[in-house]
Symmetry: C2
Subunit: 604 residues, 2 copies
């Protein structure tokens, strides 16, 4: 079943990594499509075989012939038929299962198709070719019925649609598990044109990766909010997640001491007799103080589990971007570690996530056996997708559905507005970064050189008593050269953190449309209640249950929003403090340097 594929973009193999260099327009033969991690094995016309990023090619003939046109129009009740909640693990089955999702590209797609969900509210300036502009937000919301609502809900099944989306949860220790580093879309260009770290943004592989993820978890991907709204089973007692009424409204239960952890000490490991290399990070939780080592792919596995389990109620920010090349370079490792740290900190700060079994498993690696057992258990967890709401217990009276809808609309508006604001700041910051690292220091350097040049001309005057001025001019010139360097280096000391924080929030805000989408779909369902009762599709009691359930969902959403707000206020206060503190230091240092330069000039 060998398929031909057309190469869409040039790709240069990284030496020693079994990659295949291909040119745009070249036709290659896919020899293994099940590599995972956004890669396929392919053979070129010369007979050379190697790995090529999936998004760099376009299959000339789709292999499993399941097209969107064949999607059956499922009825309301089909959507929460019991079979859909069962766990299916075979890829074959998953791809077929995909057919129920009208919005999901279910054949290996071209990059443009594969990454539809990448950015819900705006087109990235820095988007690689693979990220096109089919925005989720552009779809009508809150007006769907039946199938349409299911379609909207299914958008969540694509996973959280921000910059990065993880690859499929590969099995342990398969040969290709080094390929956990496919860089996807960009965030802001961290090192500007300097090309620091040599990281090349090659376009996202997440479209197809996400497909694999959703294939694996049909409980999360194949059903709408009805599954919860009309479910019979109560959650087990030990899993209960309470929502309290706090000063600011509904809040999660926060632990007395906040969990924290440090991601540090990246080390290069290798396997297969050194043929395959990877980076391992040390994760040190504040609870145990026992370090555990994890590779990026482990983080990614954790992300997938959290997304699967909590994603309907809690926006799970994506991991830092994947990367095809340069992933062993120091700068890249440093930045990835910083971002993994940021991600872990955010997860630790979340009372529900940090307290979850799967998160604790990640932090408490004892031995391989224990880890594998924990992994299998987590992967078999059936309280995923909308069913997470069945574990939530608000300690407050039921909310009026109108209030529920108003709150939901308000959150939707706010997160959109903030997303715009954050992106605006990122754009401005990116330009400022470029100026500070490009033309501005060059100009200060030229000023410095001009002063020094004049100084050396003056030195040649042959006039007595020239030295004081020429020394002073030289010193002033050197001062401006120092300022040039300071200007160029400053963004790393302040703007960097402002950008990182906003980039993190951009990612987090990118998750909200899906999380809020679940709520909107549920609200639409509840609105149909009377009609459903009238047509005999549900019992009057079901309608009462749905109203109660939507109230629970709203409490969860409010608790999550309040969690978001409180974190946001803390984060922005903190990053602005840091930014301004560094800016003050910067300007003070310049003033001090200039003061010294000034003191060398004398007039009688």
């Amino acid at each position: 079943m060998a398929n031909k594929a057309q190469v869409l973009y040039d790709f240069t193999a990284e030496p020693g990594n079994n990659e295949l260099t291909v040119k745009e327009g070249e036709t290659i033969t896919i020899t293994n499509q099940n590599i995972g991690g956004g890669w396929v094995e392919a053979q070129n016309a010369k007979g050379e075989i190697g790995l090529v990023p999936e998004d760099y090619i376009e299959l000339t003939k789709a292999s499993p012939a399941v097209g969107n046109a064949a999607v059956p129009d499922l009825s309301f009740f089909d959507a929460f038929a019991p079979t859909t909640a069962s766990s299916a693990t075979s890829n074959q089955v998953d791809i077929a299962g995909c057919a129920v999702q009208p919005d999901t590209p279910d054949t290996p797609a071209s990059p443009n198709e594969a990454s539809n969900g990448n950015d819900p509210w705006s087109v990235w300036n820095s988007d690689p070719p693979g990220n096109s502009a089919n925005n989720w937000a552009a779809k009508p919301e809150g007006t769907e019925t039946g199938k349409a609502a299911g379609g909207n809900w299914n958008s969540t099944a694509h996973g959280h649609p921000q910059a990065y989306q993880g690859p499929g949860a590969a099995d342990d220790d398969e040969w290709d598990d080094e390929w956990d580093d496919v860089k996807s879309s960009g965030g802001y260009t961290e090192s500007g044109e300097a090309g620091e770290g040599g990281a090349i943004n090659r376009g996202g592989a997440h479209g197809s990766s996400m497909k694999i993820a959703l294939n694996k978890f049909p409980g999360f991907s194949k059903s709408g909010p009805e599954l919860y709204l009309l479910s019979k089973q109560p959650a087990k007692g030990k899993d209960k997640i309470p929502v309290y009424m706090g000063e600011v409204g509904p809040v999660w239960l926060y632990p007395e001491t906040q969990l924290d952890c440090v991601v540090a000490d990246p080390k290069k490991g290798s396997k297969m007799y050194g043929l395959k290399s990877y980076i391992e990070y040390q994760v040190m939780p504040s609870t145990t103080n026992k370090p555990v080592n994890h590779r990026y792919k482990h983080f990614d596995w954790l992300y997938e589990r959290l997304l699967d389990k909590f994603g309907s109620a809690i926006p799970i920010p994506s991991l830092p971007d994947k990367q095809v090349t340069g992933r062993f370079e120091e700068e890249f490792i440093k930045m990835r570690m910083e971002r993994l740290q940021g991600w872990m900190t955010r997860m630790c700060r979340h009372p529900i996530i940090s307290n979850s079994e799967v998160f604790q498993l990640f932090l408490s690696y004892k031995d391989e056996k224990d880890w594998k057992m924990g992994k299998r258990k987590a992967e078999k967890d059936e309280t995923v997708g909308v069913m997470i709401f069945s574990t939530i217990e608000p300690e407050a009276p039921d909310l009026d559905p109108i209030e529920v809808e108003q709150k939901c609309e308000m959150f939707s508006r706010f997160t959109r507005a903030m997303d715009d604001g954050v992106k605006d700041l990122l754009t401005v910051g990116q330009e400022h970064w470029k100026r500070c690292t490009g033309p501005l220091p060059k100009e200060y350097q030229r000023i410095g050189k001009a002063f020094q040049n004049l100084s050396s001309v003056f030195n040649s005057s042959g006039y007595q008593g020239e030295a004081t001025l020429t020394d002073a001019l030289t010193a002033a010139g050197k001062t401006y050269e120092e300022i040039a360097q300071m200007v160029a280096e400053q963004p790393k000391k302040d703007l960097h953190f402002l950008m990182e924080t906003n980039n993190e929030y951009k990612g987090l805000l990118g998750c909200f449309p899906d999380t809020i989408g679940v709520h909107k779909a549920a609200i639409e369902k509840v609105k149909e209640g009377d009609k459903l009762v009238a047509t005999g599709k549900i019992m009057p009691q079901d309608k009462v249950t749905m109203a109660k359930r939507i109230s629970t969902m709203s409490y969860a959403l409010q608790a999550e929003m309040n969690h978001f707000h409180s974190n946001r206020i803390y984060d922005y206060n903190r990053v602005m403090q840091l930014y301004l503190e560094q800016q003050v230091k910067f300007y003070e240092t310049i003033a001090e340097k200039l003061k010294q330069a000034h003191s060398q000039f004398v007039t009688m």
Copy 2:
């Protein structure tokens, strides 16, 4: 004797000033060529008559038919025939007299020809069409003999070749004496693209103006250094200019108290029943404390007299640029006053110039009669051109001609090198000015707006306890807007003075090639001494006299160079102090503002 002329550039008449609007390519008839000040009266095809800048037109037929081709090759001794030293005032005679100068365009020339001497060492970036790139410096120096040396010397007759050169010294009170404001080439673009003051740089009228000036003073224009080297008459006692040996070498005699004056209080005056307007500046000398009023044309007259009398020994910096349009606008008047002040200060600081009769006349205007008498006397002064050296008396032993030549070469090298250095700094400064007034403040403004925007989004969250952060963010945003404004306004507070000083020095340095050229021509003459004696052209005694005279010239040049160096050291120390002081304040103020913004953010 009406001549046709072709219009080279569009010129738009300023309303109410008797000007004539003409279009490029149009043919006009010159009705009066003796207007002066760089203007001619012309009639267009419709019969309309008005004034047109001389440099904007090209005569299709020269009026006094004296072409360069007809220049007689004057012999060495013809050059200092007694008649050439006599004072001739009729324009008619002057134009004919012009024919002895091979390099001087002696017919009303096109701008390209007329402004050859505009910039000796480099082409201006901001040159108007009238300033082409025929550099004096490109001509071989120090290698001329006989006629060639005369040619080099004659280059001085063009007047000092920097940005501005004055118009002919018009007679008192002729109707057109408002036309004293023809802007010539640019210096640095003071107000950047902002177009402040609305001054349009229309191209220099100085080429032809200088021609008139030199026509009037054949003593200065028609002879080489031989006039002095072999002159018989000793200077009168009261005019003696001594050169002393100071610590740094030969120096002028400096007065005990340095003259100073303040140029202030520009007032618009008018005459001819308000038809003609002009600006009058108040000049207040520190000696008398009695203010005198002078128009630009009076400054210009003074400049011409100083150039004529001292130009061979002392570089006389040009006045600030002339200007055709916008000359009554506030910004322009302010800048011109500032530059007139700078020029006057430099003249006051010069011991020879400030002590001269003509300069004192300018500062001590009593009444119209006294002023006119003084003017006529000054204009009849015969100790002009190289003859100024006959008044100089070094109190030191004669110098060896080889040392004289070495010194001269050294000064030449230094002034060229400094000219390059100054121009380099001006270029850098101009770019910095543009950045500081253009993209940089815009960027800070955008940062400020982005913070404020985020603040207003946060304000809409509906979350309690938002106010502290949003207030702080708004304050930070406003701070960056303030910084934007500071950045945009800062160049006026510091870079402006650095630029003005360097611009002044650029002008001053532009005078040196001519002043040094006089010396080089004299050195070449003296080198020919043996040959001239051998061929019986001069007496052996004349050779001794020439050696003595060249020594005197060298003492004068050294005294002037030492004056230049001491002023330069003072000026650069002073302007760098001012620049850095303002820069320190600027950065300190920013740091202080940011510190305040910082203090508003709180984290627990």
